[in-house]
């Protein structure tokens, strides 16, 4: 394996096709890393007693990619040993139990990648311009993350 090709990389993708855990984890695997940590966000089938049929996601794509790149930069500042970071987010219709987001981070030892993955998903929910519409049997609802710094706190 050519060691000089193993420079730290960010893999960011927004796409409407089904996400693949295998694909995302393979992106971050590195010969110098002993740990790959993963987060998968999946679609729940219920919200406050209502049956969720599916989710629909839309994004301000160019800004979402820029904001995710900022998150990756911050991860590398906080955890300099982190090697590769992959963030894949699905857009459009996501059926129940399928993944909406997969985040994978590799690092030499496990503490950094575990913490970095948590930071990524928490910060994504607070700052990346992506919106989720929950479709119920007879109505729908635009969701609001509690992490969103400008959303009203009372509903």
């Amino acid at each position: 394996m050519d060691e000089s090709e193993d420079v730290p990389k960010d893999f960011i993708k927004l796409k409407s096709e089904k996400l693949s855990v295998d694909e995302v984890s393979e992106l971050v695997i590195s010969p110098s890393c002993g740990a790959v940590s993963l987060f998968i966000g999946t679609t729940r089938n219920n919200f406050e007693g209502k049956k969720v049929i599916h989710l629909e996601y839309e994004a301000y794509i160019s800004m979402a990619e820029t904001e995710i790149k900022k998150i990756c930069r911050n991860v590398r500042q906080k955890w300099p040993s982190v090697k590769h970071i992959a963030v894949h987010h699905r857009l459009g219709v996501v059926p129940v139990t399928e993944a909406s987001v997969i985040i994978a981070v590799s690092s030499p030892h496990r503490a950094e990648s575990l913490e970095a993955v948590m930071y990524c998903i928490n910060t994504l929910k607070a700052s990346v311009p992506i919106w989720k519409k929950e479709i119920y049997e007879d109505e729908y609802s635009w969701k609001e993350n509690k992490e969103c710094f400008w959303a009203s706190s009372e509903k």
Partner: protein
């Protein structure tokens, strides 16, 4: 003339996803919102929930002075729900 982009609930209320609007070159974020609501009155109901993204930087709907160039991108950003 700036490019205005609408997302999520704001796109539903405005009835469109994007348009070009003529606005003063310098104005506060609050004033920019007023200009947009003039064109799309139905947006008034979400005033307390949205922020702008001007050239992809978040801007609260307050007194911050915006200096806009022709072709700048302004997006209406309702509360986000990614992840």
């Amino acid at each position: 003339q700036v490019s205005v982009l609408y997302f999520a609930r704001s796109a539903e209320l405005a009835g469109l996803r994007s348009e070009t609007l003529s606005v003063p070159r310098q104005l506060t974020a609050r004033q920019l919102w007023d200009e947009i609501v003039r064109v799309h009155p139905r947006l008034a109901v979400i005033r307390d929930q949205v922020v702008f993204a001007v050239q992809q930087e978040y801007v609260l709907l307050g007194d911050q002075l915006l200096v806009l160039q022709p072709g700048d991108e302004v997006a209406i950003i309702p509360p986000i729900s990614g992840g």
